[in-house]
């Protein structure tokens, strides 16, 4: 899958569950820095990723850099999928 293919469903999920359905979230919006997702929301997002793409993010990859924005999450998932 491409970065974009990963990003879209995750973006929809975050907008629906953490931004009251308002769609002004773009791929470079800082998710942690702006409090879009906190530690509890992060768990939910990662559970969604696992369900949706059957990809588990290992603990070692849960870094602020990898989770900074949709773009970096997408890039991480592309990398994980490639193994």
């Amino acid at each position: 899958m491409t970065v974009d293919q990963f990003i879209e469903p995750i973006r929809d999920y975050i907008v629906r569950h953490h931004l009251d359905g308002q769609a002004d979230l773009d791929r470079h919006t800082p998710l942690l820095e702006w409090g879009v997702i906190d530690s509890f929301a992060l768990t939910e997002v990662l559970a969604f990723v696992e369900d949706e793409f059957e990809l588990a993010v290992p603990a070692a990859e849960m870094t602020p850099e990898n989770l900074r924005d949709l773009e970096s999450i997408g890039a991480l998932l592309v990398r994980l999928e490639a193994g």
Partner: protein, 516 residues
């Protein structure tokens, strides 16, 4: 001699920690375990001997930049060995350190740095421009890279003992302020040592112990991590900012670092239980778990207790202004229907009591505001008159028996989010800064560890703002835990007959309907 070190003497059978002032605590570790590891951070570690040299080099660099006893030095660095050395170096030259949240937005960091009027700011090159800006009064910097001192732990000559006393200022911790601006809590050497000596006596750390350092350095929980380790020549393992919010990584950290004494807010432990598999893969190294900062829900504590039956657990309590002033040891598993975990009884040489609205002391079974008096009570807030007399915590407690208390709630608008103190006025000021907002009020909805901040907002006519835009506005001014979780749009805020915002009505609206 004043009575505050009795606890320590008792535990050590007369072997006193030779701490007259706070930097002596590190000297104690150096004396006990010079070649043992003092501090670990991911990928590296440093022995007491080398950390001592590094500290001396930094202290010399501070002296060269004109730092004098009584000055403040802001430390705006990521959590690191360098930050620890910088704090010790500041103490060594007789100045007071002011840790600045490395994750806070620049506007807030600047606010803290300009408020405490430091003679030097120790920071990294990419933050220097902010610290030096016209808004801040800092004229001298000590940079974390490229300056002789950092990353150099070759032997360095010791620094002459600075002329400070137990009552001198040792550090300032900034907390959320009810006026909409952060306020600096001034802690003296005496204040800090009273708590540290109690904690050392109670926890009996050994040079073989590994303490976690979960709390950031601007948060008072970090005092125990650093100084209890130093007092005994033990090792403290720093958890970098980026790791502290991910449950699985925290559990992995405890296992990899073979942590023996863990200390954090209950939220972090809950995260480790719920997402990190802490209970299933319970690290065997743990011998003591400490928590503070917010009530630990009994349901969660029962699970923790069941999985770690042999581990000592203590609930510590105290606002930043008094450090830890009460404690309760969790013995056995709390009953299924037990009320909150008690905050327990006085410690650190303090006296605590509850006062009812009529001014009388609460009897057993009654509730009132908790007052604290004794050696841990702060000098005062920075820039304001010195504090005198007992400290009024603003916490409503119930007196359980002769000496023990249970926390019931607050008497003002202050709330706790993941153990962090949040004055709603600061959140309201940040949300109101958005040009579309006519007025805003913030409330905390939910309970226990699920508590979240919601802003009730009325917008100017013809304008609006999304939740994301308001989060962005908060993120530019506030630490992350103070960013609103949700927004409830109202045509006008509910008012009481005398025109004040009706917080009770607001709470009901926000609880009932949740965020917009």
């Amino acid at each position: 001699m004043d009575g505050y070190s009795n606890g320590y003497r008792r535990a050590r059978g007369g072997e006193l920690m030779r701490a007259e002032i706070l930097p002596d605590v590190f000297a104690e570790g150096l004396h006990r375990n010079p070649d043992g590891v003092a501090v670990r951070e991911p990928g590296t570690e440093i022995t007491y001997r080398k950390l001592n040299h590094l500290t001396n080099r930094l202290a010399r660099a501070l002296l060269q930049r004109g730092v004098a006893p009584g000055d403040r030095v802001a430390i705006w660095l990521p959590k690191s060995i360098n930050a620890v050395a910088a704090m010790q170096a500041v103490l060594r030259v007789g100045a007071a350190y002011v840790p600045v949240d490395p994750l806070s937005p620049t506007a807030r960091a600047r606010e803290v740095i300009s408020d405490c009027e430091p003679s030097v700011c120790v920071t990294e090159p990419d933050r220097a421009a902010v610290a030096l800006s016209p808004v801040g009064p800092v004229r001298r910097l000590l940079l974390g890279e490229g300056v002789p001192g950092f990353d150099d732990s070759t032997p360095a000559a010791p620094i002459p003992r600075a002329p400070v006393t137990r009552d001198s200022l040792a550090y300032i911790l900034y907390t959320s302020g009810s006026t909409g601006r952060p306020k600096g809590v001034c802690i003296s050497h005496r204040n800090a040592l009273a708590f540290i000596e109690w904690a050392v006596a109670e926890l009996e750390p050994k040079p073989t112990d590994r303490l976690s350092s979960h709390a950031p350095f601007h948060f008072d929980l970090s005092i125990l991590d650093l100084y209890v380790a130093f007092a005994s020549g033990a090792c403290v393992s720093l958890i970098p900012e980026g790791l502290s919010f991910v449950g699985p990584r925290l559990v992995e950290f405890v296992r990899r670092e073979r942590i023996t004494i863990w200390y954090s807010v209950p939220s972090a432990l809950a995260m480790m239980m719920d997402d990190g598999g802490l209970l299933e893969t319970g690290p065997a190294s743990l011998r003591t778990i400490l928590f503070a900062g917010e009530p630990f829900p009994v349901v969660a504590l029962r699970r923790l207790r069941a999985a770690f039956s042999g581990v000592r657990m203590l609930n510590l309590y105290g606002p930043t202004e008094t450090n830890v002033c009460t404690y309760h040891e969790v013995i056995g598993t709390p009953g299924e229907h037990a009320a909150a975990v008690p905050i327990g009884r006085a410690c650190s040489g303090d006296r605590v009591w509850a006062v009812k609205d009529d001014g009388a002391e609460a009897e057993i079974g009654e509730s009132g505001e908790l007052l604290v008096d004794g050696p841990t009570v702060m000098l005062g807030y920075w820039g304001r008159p010195a504090h005198r007399g007992p400290y009024h915590t603003g916490d409503i407690v119930q007196r359980l028996d002769e000496r023990n208390y249970a926390y019931l709630g607050r008497r003002d608008a202050m709330v706790k989010i993941r153990g962090h103190r949040v004055e709603l006025g600061e959140v309201e000021a940040a949300v109101s800064a958005h040009p579309s907002v006519r007025e805003a009020a913030a409330v905390a909805v939910g309970s226990g560890l699920q508590k979240r901040l919601v802003a009730a907002v009325s917008f100017r006519e013809g304008s609006s703002a999304s939740l994301l835009e308001l989060k962005k506005e908060c993120a530019a001014r506030l630490p992350r835990y103070m960013i609103v979780h949700g927004v409830r749009e109202l045509s006008a805020l509910p008012r009481t007959p005398n025109g004040k915002v009706d917080r009770r009505a607001l709470q009901a609206i926000c609880e009932k309907e949740g965020a917009r």
